[in-house]
Symmetry: C3
Subunit: 453 residues, 3 copies
């Protein structure tokens, strides 16, 4: 241990931040409407800022408190969440410049409200992956992950939107599916038996209520997530569809949770997580005219898949495949993301000018008819083709996430990054000076003082 | 017990959700601005969505956390709150179609942002009633209540707005007064002595802080509740009046709470609840020009009535009339709602074109002058008449709420709905698999370790 | 003790509220757009209300929960916060009328959304000062402070904006610096040795997580604070700059916290507080074109100054100067506020039409060229002058805050205001009837049951 563990963390973090500042000084400008030397008066603030703030609250309050569910890991759940989010927001603008802006031609990057939304969207991707790694990874390891994952996530989105020309307004493929399977692949690469057997791996009564704070903010603001980058009638549909999916999802989650319980009880972890799966499942087609009942069906399916996953799937993945998933991201983001991609593909395959109106070309630009010398020629791509491309984007997403996650996990295994050892798992004391009063005593040494039922 | 208790809950819930989806598939469309086949470009998103989200947070974060105040009932307080809210939002659109849309003539129902606000408003009605029943009722019983209460609440609103033509912008009559007396009537119908004497019926130090999360969000966003469906200058007055009422209310609540305390201390339950009564009390006349000082007077009166009610009223109602009210909804919603109705009636009775300007006809459509063949005839209804109609709507509200609540309570008494028995009251373990760590031990078995003062 | 302690509190509070209502009845009108008898249709609601609500949540949820960090002072931290906020909002409108409106000429005061934002801004000033006094002062003392501090704070702002004509869009001088040094001066005036040595002066594991709720809402919504009263491109820059500063600040805070720790751990109090210092540090120049990287540098400097202050500065101030600062307001608001003022002065001194465009005259009205008879004459004030005036405003702020705070502290020392005695410090039981269950036992009497690391 030449360099003490946390000196390493401090210096690495300061180095990253310094590099960000230097890069920003070189390439980042304000968007035109914020540039006082330009005369652009079309301020995006009323259009994007309120929904941006909803999304911002989802990332930092929502994910942050959702991840306080472990009884001795509340500081870390919320605190590391903030660290990863803040690094990701800054890194995203740089990475997206590489893929989506023509840096080569000398155009500088514009920091705009929509790019800040993209920053939060990438933070979501990273924080989803964090759900599979919570308590088992150190902050330095996770920073390595952020730097690599954001590159791969944007490569995937670049392929999907620029080459496959698919639609994924709420990012159910590019954010949720990618983040989930990337995180699960990392978890697989890092697997140790102690990850499952640690006595600290359990929620507490109060930590579960803190986690509900996160759940409810995520649940309330999810329509803003799915509609944040949509506009006009597409945005309004995204709001209505997402709301419709979520109300059905939470009802069905509680029903299924009770149905699968030996005593008929609901599991609080299902309410905390599976009730949000409807927001994921409707994410690809949120701006499409699926009707409220269509959204409710998606929310219902998501609740069934997700709740069942929490009940049986996570244990199976861990024991059979050594994929340990403490926050259940496969159930909340992974499988519902695949469901969303399929829903989007089906809608794409049946989309016509009749049922989509002019929004057909807004949602699927590749279906815009070609106009040459005043003559309108059919679009290069038909409805069924578009459905196929949507599925191709899902496959690309899964492939890049899994391969990228495994490779990233191998990098994260290097001893240099100071992973917690078996005695340090899921324990705030490993990274924080915790308060003397109220830190939960070791569950193994105390009488719990109550019996179930 | 032919069908196990929770299988019943699961199947009933799934059945309800399935029926909702079928009905939505048959009758619900998007509002025109969200319909891609229509050319309506007047998007309501900027006008209604930010305030809708404020209201949405009030319903799920606000009520949800306010109802975590019992020391062993946090999961249920927040969790059942979500279940009832999600069912109510879906059911409201259907029920309102019966009363407010011309279904008979073949017009389909439009899901719109304003209808979603109405969904949340009905969720408020139901969740207010839940406050009198918290911990004493099972989820199945409460779902029965939701299905019946939403019908009666909308019948009441239909009578009030369509026939009596009264104004109640923040729903102090239609939401708060109705929800409160309906809930109290149900509580009376279900009364058992154990409801009052259960050892679990007590808050905890930390659960009371969780409840404050709910209080503060309700307090902050109440201007959006009272102004959500108002427009233009009426909306701006609703914001300013509600804010004015609430700041006075919270100050006076703390003063009165201390004044009524033997040791001069403040009771946290007063701060949690009575400080919100000003939002209720100003609800009927929030969009009327009552001036900030008028709103502050209403807030002050509400604080006095509500705090006194918490101190003495609830015990009296329980011991004298067997109306047990654990969250104190009579004090927070009932009496302040009546105060609001009276305030609205007084304002209506003195409203003239001079002091109300053109908003007179926006707020009281029945006072619009008749124009026949170019000649302007006086309105059918004078100021004093309008005041009388406002009181008539209050009386109708009270009658429908109390009779409807008693009958609904009788239905809810049927053993089929699996009410909790005396040993199961106010106890999360009855519906949830609670975490082993941190569930509060039985208060009777432990030394509290401190003395007051 | 002729008048019992809390009767005094009750009567004083009721008296203040009654006086407010009387003054409002005499002088306060709606702003024109809310006045139904005026035909102003330029409603400020879409422009100001969403950001106003963000700020409102910062004041009551943000400060409120941030101040629940002491393990036995959660009710008071959040509850007294609400009381002070509600009194300040009402008092501010009256006080600002004296300084900023021409009452003498008979113009009545208009309650408007922008005045409500000013009310919340003044609440911030007061609540910052409260951070140095938390647990050591009674509510009556604090009400005395509110009444005096709001007058002095607005006098300071009046001098700064009307006479020195400086720019301070996010109030880093007028709100943060003033509130901090005013509060520290009061703390000095009230100093007793017991303030530092009380066994109750410590956080708890769960109270520290509650405090994080406040932190994260403050962190998320700070762009709305700095941009709330800005408009157009200045508002958009305020949002982007504040966000840029905060993301850098939180990363550097965690790095420095770890670097300064013997064991390399992060201190949760640094995350709770120092990560917000970037919002303060960018507050004066938030609407100026400092570029994202400039904001990130300010956020980085703020994190270094603030974290170091929490680590060493607070103890030094207490032991050396008898200035005891339990919430660390010197570190979060004081020093970062001075940094902000210097940043603003530097920007002012280099501001030209070239780099500021037309916003030069919006931000620095004194630099507007004079036009006499069609001829344009240079402005009376050059860039370098403006920088000097900005520093003059900082000096004025410090002088008024320190002298005013010391004098106010002397007034607050009078025994009549019922300060808590040595046994009553940092203890909710002194003002509240706390719940029997869950109030933390005396830390001195229990085994903590764990060892660090």
């Amino acid at each position: 241990m030449a360099v003490p563990k946390r000196v390493k963390f401090s210096l690495a973090t300061l180095f990253i931040q310094a590099v960000f500042i230097i890069i920003y000084a070189i390439i980042v400008d304000y968007e035109d409407a914020a540039d006082p030397t330009k005369s652009d008066n079309d301020y995006p603030t009323p259009k994007y800022y309120p929904m941006y703030q909803d999304i911002h609250v989802m990332i930092f309050v929502g994910f942050g408190f959702l991840y306080t569910f472990l009884y001795r890991y509340g500081y870390s759940g919320a605190g590391i969440n903030i660290l990863l989010g803040a690094v990701t927001i800054q890194w995203t603008l740089i990475v997206r410049a590489l893929f989506f802006h023509e840096l080569a031609s000398g155009v500088r990057v514009k920091m705009s409200l929509t790019e800040l939304i993209n920053g939060d969207f990438n933070a979501a991707t990273v924080l989803i992956s964090f759900g599979a790694l919570i308590g088992k990874t150190g902050p330095l390891q996770l920073l390595v992950m952020v730097l690599l994952e954001v590159i791969l996530a944007n490569l995937n989105e670049y392929i999907g939107t620029e080459h496959l020309k698919v639609s994924d307004v709420g990012g159910s493929m590019f954010i949720h599916t990618f983040g989930a399977y990337f995180g699960l692949a990392v978890s697989r690469a890092l697997y140790r038996e102690s990850h499952q057997s640690s006595a600290n791996l359990r929620p507490g009564y109060l930590s579960d209520i803190f986690a509900l704070v996160g759940t409810i903010f995520l649940w309330c603001f999810w329509p803003s997530f799915n509609g944040g980058l949509a506009t006009d009638d597409g945005r309004l549909r995204a709001i209505i569809n997402t709301l419709s999916s979520l109300v059905a999802c939470v009802v069905v989650t509680m029903a299924i949770s009770s149905l699968l319980s030996r005593r008929g009880n609901i599991e609080i972890s299902h309410l905390q997580n599976a009730s949000l799966a409807g927001g994921v499942a409707v994410g690809t087609c949120a701006n499409m005219p699926i009707k409220p009942w269509g959204a409710m069906v998606l929310g219902t399916l998501a609740a069934i898949v997700s709740t069942t996953g929490y009940k049986y799937g996570s244990d199976y993945l861990a024991s059979r495949f050594k994929i340990h998933d403490p926050a259940g991201i496969n159930n909340l983001h992974g499988m519902p993301g695949i469901l969303a991609a399929c829903g989007g593909a089906v809608m794409a395959a049946i989309a016509t000018k009749d049922n989509f109106g002019d929004s057909l070309y807004v949602i699927f630009p590749a279906r815009t008819p070609n106009i040459v010398n005043g003559t309108v020629y059919p679009a290069d791509r038909l409805a069924f083709d578009q459905g196929g491309y949507q599925i191709a984007a899902l496959v690309t997403t899964l492939a890049l996430a899994i391969v990228g996650g495994l490779l990233t996990g191998l990098v994260m295994r290097a001893p240099i990054w100071d992973a917690p050892d078996d005695q340090e798992l899921y324990d705030d004391r490993n990274y924080w000076d915790v308060s003397e009063h109220g830190f939960p005593p070791d569950i193994a040494t105390i009488q719990t003082g109550f019996t179930y039922g």
